[in-house]
């Protein structure tokens, strides 16, 4: 199963094994990564699962949908070109090794 890396706001890394077909948000909450709140449970309605995708991975992710784009305008931490909602990133084998940085705050 692919593994992904979360880098906390203070720089601490956390490697997370994912299980089949789950989103980066689901992997994070299952492993108790507290930098991801995911208040809406992955329904793309809350913007509290915000992550900054490591530059080298940015182009390898599927494009975002309009609703994700709109929600990202409302994130608590600043929106950057690398901003995504982790509940909308489905982990596939090609994403093994993906690096996601956690913002300072989610609300």
């Amino acid at each position: 199963m692919p593994a992904i890396m979360f880098i906390h706001a203070d720089g601490r890394p956390d490697r997370v094994e994912t299980s089949g077909g789950e989103s980066a948000m689901q992997a994070a909450t299952r492993h108790g990564i507290d930098g991801i709140l995911a208040e809406c449970g992955g329904n793309a309605m809350c913007a509290t699962c915000h992550v900054y995708v490591d530059e080298s991975w940015l182009t390898r992710l599927p494009e975002m949908a309009d609703d994700e784009d709109a929600l990202l305008d409302g994130t608590a931490a600043e929106r950057r070109p690398s901003s995504r909602l982790s509940c909308q990133i489905k982990i596939t084998p090609e994403l093994d090794g993906l690096v996601l940085r956690l913002p300072e705050r989610q609300v």
Binding site: T29, G32, M45, C46, D67, D73, G74, T75, V107
Partner: protein
């Protein structure tokens, strides 16, 4: 209450009435009975299927093509009965119609909009605490859980000052009407005419102040997103679902924090837990207890065969305390990871006002915990009975300033 296996179908039939007074007064023993009876049960009293475990409630919520909303999310099947009011364009709609109206309300109540109203909501919460500190002893439902949302939400919508006393009674009719034709529902509808007239009037464009949520919905007509006749009905959705729900949500949180002083203490030590304390109260008390769906085809759910056109009752509250999903579900724990609870639903109909509710809850609990050392319950709490909403009618408390 007995559970008996019906021959053949494999679905246990129960004679539990989830809308009678005994059930509503204390639903937990019956929730457990239903949860343990099977993944899908049949309730003979109203001839409906029921799901009480987390997995099945979540599955039904997330398969709107099979479990539809357009035939009503109450017991009444809109295909067979005339709805008591024109159906909601969002709650009682399926894709693709739902997708369009939902996009409008999502935009009006987006995280960006919440950033704009946050300071105003927080200031009003502080003012409410000022008033409560003067009173010392008060009713935490009337003077807090109702008074706070009433001091911000109608203004945020852009409603006129006159007639606002209709708002809570109207919502109470709406949520009673999802239930079966029992006394709660019949009485509510019989007395609904003046409240309905008020609401219909306030939904019109000319009655909504510029800049408010209501005016923003009407502005979407100019963008071509909705028609001029749809806008008032979408405003109606906010009037129906936006006030009484948060009253019961905030009421639930205060009732929890007053009952569990260790959790109150934790909150006082770390105010950043306020948002989590509210969210956990929504899981723990589930202010919205139930909603129905109607099957659009024959379907098999966890081994149970359900025919086309059947009503399925989802017990959100029972799913939120399913031990298969939650550790110590009966414990109110403000540090719990609540993500995934179904107190706001799940899937395409998941509460479009959830950000408003959380914002109100967070700023109100923050203001309370910052300035109050102790909340003591000083009299018998009284329950308010509603077919769908769970909450109190009165909660006498005395507070000690910090």
């Amino acid at each position: 209450m007995t559970a008996s296996g019906a021959a053949g179908s494999g679905v246990p039939h129960l004679d539990v009435d989830p809308f009678d007074m005994t059930f509503l007064a204390d639903p937990y023993p019956a929730h457990e009975l239903l949860r343990e009876a099977g993944p899908v049960v049949y309730l003979d009293k109203w001839n409906v299927y029921g799901v009480t475990r987390y997995a099945e409630v979540h599955a039904v919520l997330n398969d709107p093509a099979t479990f539809c909303s357009s035939r009503g999310v109450g017991l009444s099947d809109f295909k067979k009965e005339t709805p008591w009011r024109p159906p909601s364009l969002i709650l009682e709609a399926d894709p693709p119609a739902h997708t369009r109206t939902r996009a409008v309300l999502s935009k009006v109540l987006s995280p960006t909009v919440m950033k704009q109203v946050r300071d105003r909501f927080a200031a009003a919460a502080e003012e409410r605490v000022d008033a409560l500190l003067e009173q010392r002893s008060f009713d935490a439902i009337t003077d807090l859980a109702e008074a706070y949302p009433l001091s911000i939400f109608p203004d945020a919508l852009g409603l006129k000052p006159e007639g606002r006393e209709h708002l809570i009674p109207y919502a109470s009719v709406v949520f009673n009407a999802f239930g079966p034709p029992n006394e709660l529902r019949q009485q509510a509808i019989e007395r609904s005419a003046p409240h309905q007239a008020y609401v219909a009037e306030q939904c019109q464009r000319e009655n909504l102040a510029p800049g408010g949520f209501g005016a923003c919905i009407h502005a979407q007509v100019d963008e071509g997103a909705i028609t001029a006749s749809e806008a008032p009905l979408l405003v109606r959705s906010l009037l129906s679902a936006g006030l009484d729900t948060t009253v019961n949500g905030i009421g639930a949180a205060v009732y929890c924090l007053a009952r569990f002083p260790d959790q109150w203490q934790r909150l006082r030590e770390d105010l950043t837990l306020a948002r989590g304390a509210f969210e956990e109260a929504v899981r723990f008390e589930s202010p919205v207890q139930t909603f129905f769906r109607t099957t659009t085809r024959e379907v098999e759910l966890s081994g149970a065969k359900i025919g086309e056109g059947e009503k399925v009752l989802m017990f959100l509250a029972a799913a939120n305390r399913d031990p298969r999903r939650w550790d110590e579900p009966g414990r109110y724990d403000i540090t719990r990871r609540t993500s995934g609870h179904v107190g706001f639903g799940s899937g395409i109909h998941m509460c479009v006002g959830q950000l408003v509710a959380r914002l109100e809850g967070e700023v109100m609990l923050t203001a309370l915990a910052r300035r109050i050392a102790k909340i003591e319950i000083t009299g018998e709490p009284k329950r308010r009975f509603n077919n769908t909403l769970r909450g109190l009618d009165s909660l006498p408390v005395t507070i000690t300033p910090a």
